[in-house]
């Protein structure tokens, strides 16, 4: 099946790119690696008038070590390159793990970090062909006013399946969003919204240009559960972070992904561990607190009960892994 009619533009500089976004942001889609955009266009879920390629925008394809020890990564960097980057592997191993966990080698050869961070949410009521969708009523994502997954809801419940945001959140990464004549820094934890449709705060005239990771001396972990290895979106994933060593944990962060419309930052479980340390008893208590923070769960891609179950398993495994580090 062919892609729909549209215009392809290739920005040869960041400047040119931002100009186009200012002029026509509402009808434009940025194409980084293209794997997500082409997928959505092929299914006619999104039919932008303009596909704006940023492959020549050199400004967003660098990895720079900043004087304060932070690492600034261009959003246009390919996942395959970042996965092999020695600095990332040494200083941010959980982040490196999450990069390698994205899709398949084939996808990572062209996909970018920015693309994964901005990955569109997914739902099996929308992610099939246009012909297929003629058999279902329009939903929020397809200009309708209902959600097939939770029929009584006023929100779109499509799932955010991106893996790299999870460790980026526990690492406190900051995204640089640029528009023509301006830019803003948004902590990645604030970038996502719990809405399957408007799942990020990115405006139509903005581009995510950089991801800055502050230095991190803490233990971190990334775990992914998927039906098949090396290929699939997560059924559930977690990133964890703890200061200290052994069962002693000062600050603890836990973030779950692929369960809901946005990554879920766990509060009570993290607080419990920070308070009591990573003991078996504390882990058990933390698990009990997980379900309450997941919010309304859908049976999209996996049954709700199973998602809740996996969330607990991941919290347990992440904490145990941190304890071993």
């Amino acid at each position: 099946m062919l892609l729909p009619d549209h215009q392809y533009l290739c920005a040869d500089s960041l400047q040119a790119c931002l100009k186009t976004l200012r002029e026509s942001g509402e009808r434009t889609h940025v194409v980084a690696g293209g794997t997500d955009v082409i997928f959505n266009m092929r299914l006619r879920l999104f039919q932008p008038d303009i596909a704006l390629s940023i492959r020549r925008v050199a400004e967003i394809q660098q990895v720079e070590e900043l004087p304060d020890g932070s690492l600034r990564i261009g959003a246009g960097c390919r996942l395959v390159d970042l996965a092999e980057n020695p600095v990332i592997n040494e200083r941010y191993p959980a982040f490196a793990d999450s990069i390698r966990a994205v899709a398949s080698t084939h996808i990572r050869n062209i996909a970018t970090l920015g693309g994964n961070i901005c990955l569109k949410t997914r739902c099996w009521y929308t992610n099939n062909s246009e012909q297929w969708r003629q058999g279902v009523k329009e939903c929020f994502k397809t200009d309708g006013d209902l959600c097939h997954v939770i029929k009584s809801s006023s929100l779109c419940h499509a799932i955010n399946n991106a893996d790299t945001p999870l460790p980026l959140i526990v690492l406190g990464a900051v995204l640089t969003l640029q528009r023509e004549g301006g830019s803003r820094d948004v902590p990645i934890a604030e970038f996502y919204q719990k809405d399957g449709m408007d799942h990020t705060v990115l405006e139509a005239d903005e581009l995510v240009t950089h991801v800055t990771l502050p230095p991190c001396a803490d233990r971190t972990v990334f775990l992914k559960i998927a039906a098949r290895k090396g290929m699939d979106f997560s059924q559930a994933a977690i990133a964890g972070r703890a200061s200290g060593t052994g069962s002693q944990a000062g600050e603890v962060r836990l973030v779950l992904g692929s369960i809901s419309m946005a990554p879920i930052v766990l509060h009570e479980p993290a607080r419990l561990i920070a308070e009591q340390g990573i003991t078996d008893a504390a882990i058990e208590q933390a698990e009990e607190k997980v379900r309450a923070e997941l919010g309304e769960l859908t049976s999209l891609y996996a049954r709700a009960g199973y998602k809740a179950h996996l969330a607990k398993i991941l919290v347990r495994r992440a904490l145990k892994a941190l304890r071993e580090m």
């Binding site: 099946m1 992610n127 297929w132 559960i225 039906a227 098949r228 290895k229 090396g230 996996a302 009960g305």
Partner: protein, 786 residues
């Protein structure tokens, strides 16, 4: 009793020079270099692109269908609907009904015919409603969008259980109560067996909706430019059935229909019949008198590929305390979808296949094909025998456990042997089942593992049998072959059988090479074009090796006899004193006296009388009532279950297959690998998730088959029992292993969970967790019953 038949070659030291060698496939170089042509690669001058508008409702009345806007779109050359297909039905199985009646004495209800387009009512999502042909794909797509359809939804029935209850919406007025067919097959004396047995055990089992997932999407390219000749390029398992269905529908004789099946990208029981979209493509080409290609994109493939529907099994086993199995009684409710199809026939086969392996007193199979508004169903890889065998073998493991018996011993105790006559009259002229069982027991380390593995680490065994060249399915069941000899010693084998990847063509070449005493690489194949090739019913029912193989052998023998005349003259001896081997023709009594094969061919063809050497051969089972040969198989699977996530890791599968004779070990290994993969996929991963008949996951991403990380270690053991009917003793390997692998894996998972029966496939993580909870509950109730 069947007529006495001598094997073609001795069991040991058969003196074979080509058969048994590892032969890389002859078209391998073409396939790895991208030269091999598949249907979608073909572009014909003036070719149009066809697209089909499909029903989006499971059950609805078509209130209005207006194609005028589509017709008016520039670039659109034809729009067709039911009006263009009046009286036509997609039906490839008329011949099946007749033969089955001859064989079993009763009519097994089969397809009654299926409309090409829905007329006033649609009965399943995906049913063909209209079609367009246009200059390019984009225009064809736009044209579909311009067709206006107004549906009036009708109550739909999606569950086969509810479909048979009073008051359920009716799918087809011809079948009140939505029961398309209902049969009971009794073999032997199951009633007495169940009455007299020491105990009875029973279980329930369910299998879900699937797709065959061949790599090449369905495509049909039709050229009906000439009204007296219909040409179709399409991947298929049977050009024969396609010809016989399409010819009468379009007022042509069979030989005016030319089927060209280039390379077929896998079939897995999914391409054994004509489908409405073939007819649609023909209609579009007839309307335009131009070639038309209809390619099914992405999720559309899941609507037209007909695999298995939801089957529900209830299995009962009657046994004695000493481990003697007396009888099976299986009831199967099959969801035939909206059309019914040949599902009942395959149900009948499943019932037979449950019992082939055992010396039983009785076997009963009760089947009901129920109509629903689901996608019509047909066959998965392994027919439905993967699931039926899963039901049976798990239950046998439970029987063994209850008797404190090792399942291996239970199987050995009851396993059939060579010469056994089965309950429906089958005679196993060759049978190595016991050797298969003993082989996998030994090679898998079973004795050190069964009941000795840690929790959640399980091992399971299963056995199976498969009819090779299952005769009785068709009006007549023959394969023919021709062998043309070139003066340069190059041989051409003509065969009508498709090679969907299983390597049949290379097998035919090896058989011909064996007979003529030459190298298989000096044989070329002409196949895939019904204008050029002789009759072959098709590549299903495991016919390739035994039926087509014997035909190729007979043709090669005929060619050899023609060459022998010349050679005998030259070597001054009689024709029966010649041996063709190693590229030479020599005197048996004085091997020093010999001629190069190429000299014999050249001499024969350039003789004064101008001889032309073309060997002809055909083969049809010599038994009046059916199949001659059965393969047998035993497998052990070892798994680890993650009790937290419910995921299953298959560590190792050990396979012993009695295939009669290994013609090409390289291809046999490949078949076994692929079938272990396929069975594993069916019992663990494959599940079409549906919402009222709507497939939610119709994609390669979300309808899952294992990839590289998931594959277990696989060991292959070929047991050669030298079947008297098979070519050089060979039977089949094309489908025997898949029906056992799934059962072995599910038995292993059951074992990993302490013997809890897994009631459903696929064994998704949630179902595994549920089974773990059930097993823990069972244990806590009666701790001694662990």
């Amino acid at each position: 009793m069947p007529p006495e038949i001598k094997p073609q070659v001795p069991k040991d030291n058969p003196g074979l020079t080509v058969v048994g060698q590892r032969q890389p496939r002859l078209d391998g170089a073409d396939k790895v270099s991208g030269r091999s042509v598949f249907t979608d690669d073909v572009v014909l001058p003036g070719m149009l692109y066809g697209k089909i508008l499909r029903s989006t409702h499971a059950h609805a009345r078509i209130k209005r269908l207006d194609t005028s806007k589509a017709e008016a779109l520039p670039g659109v050359k034809a729009v067709v609907t039911a009006a263009h297909a009046t009286g036509m039905s997609a039906n490839s199985t008329d011949s099946v009904a007749k033969a089955s009646k001859r064989r079993t004495g009763k009519t097994i209800k089969l397809k009654t015919g299926e409309a090409i387009f829905a007329d006033d009512v649609v009965t399943y999502i995906g049913e063909e409603v209209a079609a367009v042909a246009a200059l390019d794909e984009a225009t064809a797509t736009k044209a579909l969008e311009l067709i206006e359809v107004e549906y009036e939804p009708l109550p739909a029935i999606m569950d086969s259980r509810r479909a048979v209850r009073p008051g359920a919406p009716q799918v087809n007025a011809e079948f009140p109560g939505n029961v398309w067919s209902q049969d009971i097959d009794n073999y032997g004396d199951p009633d007495t067996a169940f009455d007299e047995a020491d105990f009875i055990m029973e279980s329930k089992f369910e299998a879900g909706v699937t797709h065959n997932l061949y790599a090449e999407f369905h495509v049909a390219l039709v050229d009906f430019s000439r009204p007296d000749k219909l040409k179709i390029w399409t991947p298929t398992q049977t050009s024969y059935l396609m010809q016989h269905s399409l010819a009468p529908a379009f007022g042509l004789s069979v030989n005016q229909v030319q089927i060209i099946h280039l390379n077929t990208g896998g079939a897995f029981s999914g391409r054994g019949a004509v489908r409405p979209h073939h007819y649609v493509a023909v209609l579009l080409s007839r309307e335009t008198r131009r070639p038309v290609k209809v390619f099914s994109a992405g999720d559309e493939e899941f609507l037209i590929g007909r695999a298995l529907g939801k089957n529900r099994y209830k299995t009962r086993v009657a046994a004695d305390k000493d481990g003697t199995l007396r009888a099976f009684d299986m009831t199967c409710e099959m969801d035939g979808g909206a059309v019914g199809n040949e599902v009942g026939y395959f149900g009948w086969m499943a019932g037979l296949s449950n019992a082939w392996m055992f010396d039983l007193q009785g076997n009963r199979f009760q089947r009901k094909v129920i109509l629903t508004n689901q996608r019509p169903n047909f066959l998965g890889h392994g027919g439905m025998m993967v699931s039926s065998n899963c039901a049976v073998q798990q239950l046998l493991a439970k029987v063994a456990r209850s008797l404190d018996m090792d399942p291996m011993d239970l199987l050995l105790k009851n396993a059939v042997e060579q010469g056994h006559t089965g309950l429906s009259g089958e005679v196993f002229a060759s049978c190595g089942l016991k050797e298969c069982i003993e082989t996998v027991r030994r090679e898998s380390g079973w004795n050190d593992k069964y009941d000795k593995l840690p929790p959640y680490h399980g091992i399971g065994v299963a056995v199976g049998a498969m009819a090779a060249g299952a005769k009785g399915a068709f009006k007549h069941d023959t394969s023919a072959a021709m062998v043309r000899v070139g003066e340069d010693g190059l041989i051409t084998v003509y065969t009508g059988i498709p090679d969907m990847g299983q390597g049949t063509h290379t097998t035919m070449a090896m058989i011909a090479a064996e007979v003529l005493g030459i190298d298989a690489n000096d044989v070329q194949l002409v196949a895939g074009d019904t204008d050029l090739t002789p009759i072959d019913i098709g590549a299903f029912a495991q016919r390739g090796t035994i039926t087509t193989g014997n035909a190729a052998r007979n043709a090669a023998i005929d060619a050899r006899d023609q060459l022998a005349k010349y050679a005998a003259e030259k070597l001054e001896t009689s024709e029966d004193n010649l041996r063709f081997a190693h590229g030479r023709v020599s005197r048996v009594d004085d091997p020093e006296q010999s001629l190069p094969f190429k000299e014999v061919t050249w001499g024969t063809l350039n003789s004064m009388e101008g001889r032309f050497v073309m060997g002809r051969g055909f083969y049809n089972s010599p038994l009046p009532y059916g199949t001659t040969s059965w393969s047998f198989d035993a497998q052990v699977a070892e798994v680890i279950v993650d009790p937290e996530t419910g995921q299953i890791d298959v560590l190792k599968v050990t396979v012993a297959h009695d295939l009669g004779r290994t013609i090409n070990p390289l291809a046999v290994e490949g078949q076994i690998d692929g079938q272990v993969f396929s069975a594993m996929s069916q019992v663990i991963y494959e599940e079409l998730v549906t919402d009222d008949g709507l497939f939610l996951n119709p994609s390669r991403l979300e309808y899952k088959m294992p990839r590289t990380y998931e594959m277990p270690e696989i060991s292959h053991f070929m047991i050669e029992t030298n079947d008297p009917y098979g070519p050089f003793g060979a039977k089949e390997v094309g489908e025997g292993p898949v029906v056992v692998a799934g059962a072995a894996i599910i038995a292993a998972v059951s074992n990993a969970l302490g013997g809890t029966l897994m009631p459903e496939m696929p064994m998704t993580p949630m179902r595994v967790l549920k089974a773990i909870r059930a097993s823990e509950l069972e244990k806590s109730r009666s701790p001694s019953a662990a």
